[in-house]
Amino acid sequence: MVGRLLMLAAVCLLGGLLSASLVRFSPGYGVDERELDPRLSQASVEAIRNSHRLNSGLLSYYGHYLSGAVHGDLGSSLWLQRPISALLKERFPVTAKSVLIGVSLAWFVALTLSLAGVFLRGFYFDISTTLISGVFIALPAAVVAIFSVYLRAPVSVAIAVVTFPKLFRYLRNLLNHAYAQPYIMAARARGISRAKILFRHILPLASPTLFALMGVSLAVAFGAAIPIEALCDSPGVGQLAWQAALNRDLPLIMNLTLLVTLITVAANMFANAAHERAM
């Protein structure tokens, strides 16, 4: 357990450092579009350039940031000129809400449809659900975002639409696989009710993979949140990340990467642990 947590911490720290170096050495770092404003005097332009320069090396900057982060000071965004902790506090709930609602919605629909598919076992039902999920997989996240705006659907619905198809296919394959097991077929032949089979046998069998899927779907949903929020103008972390990337805002990108790394690695670790425990 302690080893796991240490691993988590190490990976997160590495992630933050990597993203910081990525931004620092990327083309366009340290420029500000205000430099193109002809109304500013030379002194002002110099001042703007200096404010973007890292006054120390990257490693010491990172160390400085970490010592501040322990006390809750996450630095200040260069682009928005506001403390990052305040920004995250405002925006994270928005994204968390849409992602959680979206993922739950996707899970609900995917579970319902795949269970219905197992119980009904109709050819046309299978084809139509495959078609629908196929159409949804084929829509780029950007297109889904545009349609959701047009139909006045909230961001969570867009996220659900993006997460649903893969989830549905995995779930359906999983359940089909489970139902095809010899002892399940034997149980059915003996007349045990479908519901009993489902809860007593199938779910325990499939639960480790289900947990793994939960972790993966959360990660996918968070990833999809970035273009969706950027296109729907939703004031969440995704839009912040996109604008931060466009503006080469080093402190913000570093913080956001740390956050996402934390969530992703934690989700996967949780999934792995559940998997192992169930085995």
Binding site: L14, V143, A230, A245, T261
Partner: protein, 270 residues
Amino acid sequence: MNTPRLRLICALVLGLIFVLGLFAGTVSPYPYAKQFREHPNVAPSSTHLLGTDSLGRDLFARVIYGTRVSLLLAPAAALLSTLLAGILGGFAGLLGGWCEKIILAATDLSMALPLLFVLLALRALLPLDISPILSVIATFALLGLLGWPSSLRVVWAATKNLRNSDFLLLARATGCSRRRMIVRHLLPNLRPVLFAQFWISIPVFVLTEATLSMLGLGVIEPLPSWGNLLRGLEDISAVSANPWRLTPLVLLILVVICFQFILPAQEETA
């Protein structure tokens, strides 16, 4: 459920589209960049099968050439990423221990790093005077190089399962050398998994390129690609006035669905 007949139909459709893209030069009536400035935004007619875009370029020609870009380069990127995932995932699954831990951590890290940002940065590093075609190839190569994390977990899980399987145990018990085990026993069993991942990745890369283009970072003008053409959808009210602009989206959906029907179902589980 994926009946053989269905798979055949899908394969035929895909093949047809692929061939159309390959022979874009002969199939399309006009070059993709030619601007018919007297006829912008016209509806489909006998001279312009799918009408023209806002700069007067024939949409049918652009769709055909766009098919060539998207359908030829996405498999290449998918191949690259599957190979990388195969090698890394194989090592992780086979060797276990610290190697496995490091590779898995690296995978998680890569998924957390802002992919869009990396692409943005790498694209800005490209020299300015390369031709549009080279830049497209570079973009897809980058996608391939950065796309391995999603396939890696599947390959890793499969390799771990195989490592602990009975027949490999037997092979070792009979004194089979390591190299022989890998080449003769492991790889052939990994092949279906790798192939499945390759097949799944193709539409993913097509879609990623589409999303990139919709965000303005994809293929350079005037070269068309599906993503490029989908940018026209951003203005929804224009689409309802010119519904033929949805053609690239329809084509994309068709291709992705066909890809999914062709793949045998049981090999998708992660």
